[in-house]
Chain length 359, copies 2
């Protein structure tokens, strides 16, 4: 199974996502500068995966250090501050770096009084590496749990004729945004491990095509039967009963169950309702924001027109034409059949159920 972040003997090995979908290559990152660059250039992407990569980056930035304990902490802070500048918005990046600062502090406190500085530094370094590895395992475990809960919802959708579970997904909420397994695709990967068969229709997801470039790539690489469609073909796929359900990820869930996700998700939800098929949202509890009463309060980023007019390097719309390019949309809770978290499945009414899994 594809893994975006690994520890490989003495380097952090990243799947180079800038080369997808045409090349599968790995980049061994051996110091904090290379990690900063890898995060910045989107070699590694997806908030959970970035967090884990940054945690390794902190370790890589101090592992060659020699000197006394005070200087070590100075060095650690410099590395942490530096890595935090690699990308501006991924919350998991800052969370992961702060967790490593705490790891170092706690490790220092745990040392017996009078420990030699070189011993102390070695112990803290080891703890930083262990924590990064632990975060890697944690992410994988959370995705697997979410996957198992989701699988319980998907198995009843298997085609009675051939046992295949046919699904549609939008954008990428797959293993390549996490360490592995992903969120929306976790039930598929866990299901494959347990012997279920799937066929996934992947919306290409204009304008940036994460569906065809990333989702289709990882499903195919992991041996799942995959069909790419343009976003506007989803209605026909449903009308022709080619899929029995929809599963997508989310960027943020409001307290009432409204779901913000990649632009186009709302349209898929409306279609699923029209054609009477379930619409499932995979949401790690870290994506549930109980501070927002409804989806109306979720800020929606509008992105540059050039993403629409010059798709992938070629001009496809007249000069100076108006463009509307919202990056996300909000699907109202009433169109969501269930929300799948690593702590279980939440069904309507969502207010109560979401409070339970988060609290």
């Amino acid at each position: 199974m594809l893994q975006t972040v690994q520890w490989a003997a003495d380097a952090c090995r990243l799947l180079d996502q800038t080369k997808l979908p045409t090349e599968t290559t790995y980049l061994d990152v051996a110091d904090e500068h290379a990690m900063w660059d890898a995060i910045r250039r989107l070699v590694v992407r997806g908030a959970p995966a970035i967090g884990v990569a940054a945690a390794f980056g902190v370790y890589l930035g101090v592992r060659g250090f020699t000197g006394d304990l005070l200087e070590f902490y100075d060095r650690l802070n410099t590395v942490c501050d530096y890595l935090a500048t690699s990308r501006p918005t991924a919350v998991n990046l800052f969370w992961a770096i702060d967790r490593q600062r705490r790891t170092a502090r706690d490790a220092g406190r745990d040392l017996p009084a009078g420990a030699a500085d070189d011993h102390a530094v070695a112990v803290i370094k080891a703890r930083l590496l262990a924590t990064a590895k632990h975060m890697l395992d944690e992410d994988t475990a959370a995705c697997r749990k979410l996957g198992a809960h989701g699988l319980d919802l998907l198995t009843p959708l298997a085609d009675p004729a051939d046992g295949v579970i046919r699904l549609l997904t939008h954008c990428n909420a797959g293993g390549l945004a996490t360490v592995q397994y992903g969120t929306a695709l976790a039930p598929v990967y866990v299901g494959v491990e347990r012997g279920h068969r799937f066929h996934v229709y992947a919306d290409e997801t204009r304008p940036l095509l994460q569906g065809s470039r990333i989702t289709a790539f990882e499903l195919k690489a992991n041996g799942v039967d995959t069909t790419v469609i343009c976003d506007n073909m989803a209605a026909t796929v449903m009308a022709q009963k080619k899929v029995a359900g929809v599963i997508v990820g989310t960027d943020r869930v409001a307290a009432n169950g409204d779901v913000a996700n990649k632009i186009g998700t709302l349209g898929v939800a409306v279609l699923a309702r029209h054609y009477g098929i379930p619409f499932y949202v995979a949401a790690p509890t870290s994506s549930i924001d109980m501070s927002l009463a409804t989806g109306d309060q979720i800020p929606i980023e509008e992105r540059p027109a050039v993403e629409v007019t010059h798709g992938l390097g070629k001009q496809t719309a007249p000069d100076g034409v108006g463009v509307f390019n919202p990056a996300f949309d909000v699907t109202p809770a009433e169109l969501v059949t269930a929300i799948i978290t690593e702590r279980g499945v939440v069904r309507p009414p969502y207010g109560e159920g979401l409070r339970r899994v988060v609290g």
Copy 2:
């Protein structure tokens, strides 16, 4: 107003659609070889426009002829057979060429007995040119009539706050597929002439992007306020009440009112129903096929995967992945608010109303 086909002193002037949306250039076509090439290379496209261009092509192929009447008819047939090979499927091409053959035959019959051959040839040539010009005017007149009927439906959608009629359209059923005015966009152009104001959201229409490349181009060139969106943004546009109605063209309407049109139309129709806005179809009576009871009988072309995987000049999906690429979909009559023809507006139940306008 942009015109795809014109007669310019001694040549047929075509808007070169292969250069859109980045260049507006015209090509003067002076003989049948250049016309064959222009039709083949999609300099002129859209069934009605191709028909009119071919009619001029027939005239251009014989206008330099000198010789006797029998040789003239031989020459005419050779030109007609040759032009008919320019594209394989556009029905209007064959219809227009046959109409010119009849024009020549009828003109020959109308000549007084004993007319000199050189006089006869000159008369027939003049009649061929007149017929081509007449077909050009006919096409424009039919589109204008359809536009006027459609405008009656659209004016009640004007925003009470500012009087602007805000619409969404999919693919291109505009002036560039006809001589001018088009079908779905005809009500907009006729409305502009009458002082109405419009704002049109144009779905880009993957995979071939006729919406952003052609519809947005012609709307903008004709001074209509236009916003390009990716197909998957239509739901958000409707949810945010940015449009009050949808208008699209059609490739074929079945006797029960089921409508085949460019892939993605069905999804837009489902969304329009969900958000409670009217979904109008502009259909010249020549597109209504009373021989098909329902849309299930309309054959749907599936096109090459490469249009999806390499759509924008760059590979955007992994090698060898499955692709589903239907070029059209069928919107069931129950989702269609009204069908607009050049002979008036048809409302449900469609069976009876369509028989009336066709019969």
